[in-house]
């Protein structure tokens, strides 16, 4: 499928090919192919709805394409891509918030409605409850919880992505889990056995 970039197996090789105008487009296509799913699921857990995720993912890759020249290699490519995807997702949610939502409760309700109205959600009642519990978390805690619990990203990598200290991330995760646990305990009886 990618005859000229078959040697691009590492991120560094992709980056080198992106610097060359003749292989730039093909290298970018390879980058999209390599990271599309991981970024999709990362964004999806933040915005929840598939259509919104698709929009945010498109914008993320456009930002990556436009910002390729500014990538200095201080962090890994993976970290840089995740940071852009995270920022795009937060920007998207903030735009929604500015348009129609004003409080955390309304945002939580929006995310919950988004989930229930999404035809591409196939969870059982417990999973719906878990997602609703996650939706009640403040933005930072929600990000940390998703990245740690679902994606199993190391605190060190998370620290580079979110530009927050490891200690603060551990504390955020601890608070997030406690809140999710409390929410589930309070609402578990609503689930039919």
């Amino acid at each position: 499928m990618y005859p000229n970039v078959l040697r691009m197996t590492t991120d560094q090789q992709i980056l080198d090919s992106l610097k060359d105008a003749s292989t730039r487009e093909l290298a970018f296509r390879y980058l999209v192919s390599k990271y599309k799913e991981r970024l999709y699921w990362h964004i999806r857990k933040i915005v929840m709805n598939h259509d919104d995720t698709d929009d945010v993912l498109q914008n993320t890759f456009i930002k990556i394409w436009n910002g390729m020249d500014s990538f200095r290699g201080d962090s890994s490519l993976f970290t840089w891509l995740y940071r852009i995807a995270t920022n795009e997702s937060i920007t998207f949610l903030n735009q929604r918030k500015r348009k129609s939502l004003s409080s955390l409760t309304e945002e939580t309700q929006y995310l919950a409605d988004n989930l229930e109205g999404d035809e591409y959600f196939d969870g059982d009642e417990w999973q719906i409850l878990l997602q609703k519990a996650i939706a009640t978390l403040p933005e930072k805690q929600r990000l940390v919880f998703n990245m740690k619990y679902f994606d199993e990203i190391k605190y060190e990598d998370m620290s580079a992505i979110l530009e927050t200290s490891v200690g603060a991330l551990k504390a955020s995760y601890h608070h997030a889990v406690r809140k999710v646990e409390d929410f589930i305990r309070m609402n578990e009886d609503k689930i039919e056995p």
Partner: protein
Amino acid sequence: MKTKLNLNTENVTLDIKPSEIKVVKAIDLEIMQEEEKIESEFLKRPKSNPFKTPEYYFDTLEDRIMANIQYQDKKKTKPSGIIQYMKPVLGLAASFALVYLLVYYPINTFLLKDTAQVASTDSTETDWSEAYSVTLSNISENTLVNAIFSEESNAVTEANPDELLAYLSSGMNDIEIYSEIQN
């Protein structure tokens, strides 16, 4: 628990004071204890992904993203919005300028002398103020200077007294002319 703590202690550099090491240990211990408690009480259920995507979504994603990027790049190379918006107005202005250069300006330039001549010979029938304003509006400064210092205009200064009297009395009634003559 002790093993983890020892590992953290090994990572501490020599620059850190012993009092600070105690603080780091305390924080790590607290967080790890909480995590272990959490793991044992809450996160025992198997993790599964309840989210789905439309069929073949990822298969066509690269093509859609690349098409989107090409579209964005094309949009960037197009002129900015204000220029696009002003384009019809600028076109219209350019058309007027062209018409002015090709038609209006040559007519004014080449017919100016004829107009001036007609105005001077037909002084009895001409409304002088109107001719004056029309001529001034159509004459450039250079033309005016040339007209003043040209031989033809010098000839006017050598006009005979009768013509001068006729010119001066053109705007007077009979009584005024009579009183002027008497003076």
